[in-house]
């Protein structure tokens, strides 16, 4: 049976190809969402308050709201699925925070400083 885990590689690749844009999710901290015509995807980082360890959860919804969860995948930092979720999370954060533009702008500033 297929699950959201089967989509993680595609989500990561499409994000790095700039074909899928992510936004900050206002409902949660360290959470990002990507809108698709019929679905939307959310990925967020969480921390276990008892021991400070962290993990990631990816969720797939139908429609616009966060009401209808189709599937979700959770892995703490000790799970073998965590590295794959982390790749998607990092890609989503870079997309939502416009890291490419920021790095390009910073490069320009650094070049100007070098010329001085």
């Amino acid at each position: 049976m297929k699950s959201i885990d089967d989509l993680l590689g595609i989500l990561r690749d499409l994000t790095y190809e700039d074909k899928l844009r992510w936004e900050d999710d206002d409902a949660l901290t360290n959470s990002f969402q990507a809108e698709l015509p019929k679905y939307h995807v959310r990925i967020f980082e969480w921390t276990d308050e008892d021991d400070g360890t962290s993990g990631l959860t990816a969720q797939l919804f139908t429609g616009n709201g966060f009401g209808n969860v189709v599937d979700s995948s959770t892995a703490n930092q000790f799970s073998s699925r965590y590295p794959t979720l982390l790749e998607v999370y990092i890609a989503a954060r870079r997309s939502a925070r416009n890291v490419s533009e920021t790095i390009e702008s910073l490069e320009e500033e650094l070049k100007k400083l070098k010329k001085k």
């Binding site: 276990d48 008892d50 021991d51 400070g52 360890t53 703490n76 930092q77 000790f78 799970s79 073998s80 699925r81 965590y82 590295p83 794959t84």
Partner: protein
């Protein structure tokens, strides 16, 4: 038998081929050359066949070694899973000295297995991270008990155990399909 020298109306080549002596020598030379060439081809073919047989033998030997290594890793994976379960049980009874002794052996075994039959990159990364996290907590349990977090030790051992079980399953299925890395 005529041994007449070449006359003006005969070319040297014609004389060489038509003369009873030189003609026979030339033909004999040609026959020997062709035969020698054939023998050389035969030797080359035999050498090539021997090299192929040797390579095939080496490949079969390598495959046999890989099968044995695979089998050993499978046996070790099952043994290590049982040892990890024992450590998880010992956390409950706070026997940290015993945990440290057991963990040292497990860590060594896993490190050898990772080299012998490497799992996927994600699994390798997870195993290494969990070994590191568990080791750190075990050291804290003995040297800095106030900083020790048993839940982190349990989680890292759980993660280690489940990743080793995944690896074991993949080794089993690759053994069934006859594929060995």
């Amino acid at each position: 038998m005529t041994t007449d020298a070449p006359s003006a109306d005969k070319t040297i080549l014609g004389w060489l081929l038509s003369s009873d002596v030189t003609g026979a020598v030339t033909w004999l030379g040609t026959i020997l050359t062709v035969a020698g060439l054939g023998f050389t081809f035969y030797q080359a073919r035999e050498a090539s066949r021997a090299a192929k047989d040797a390579a095939k033998g080496a490949t079969e030997a390598e495959q046999a070694v890989r099968r044995i290594e695979h089998q050993n890793t499978l046996a070790d994976a099952a043994h290590i899973s049982a040892q990890i379960e024992l450590i998880i049980h010992l956390i409950g009874s706070q026997q940290y000295q015993s945990i440290q002794l057991l963990f040292g052996t497990i860590k060594r075994h896993i490190t050898i297995m990772l080299v012998r039959s490497p799992p996927s990159d994600n699994q390798t990364e997870t195993i290494r991270n969990n070994l590191k996290a568990a080791h750190l907590q075990i050291l804290k349990s003995i040297n800095e008990p106030h900083k020790f977090k048993p839940t982190i030790l349990s989680k890292s051992l759980d993660g280690l155990s489940s990743t080793i079980i995944e690896w074991e399953q993949e080794l089993k299925s690759s053994q069934q399909t006859g594929e060995h890395k």
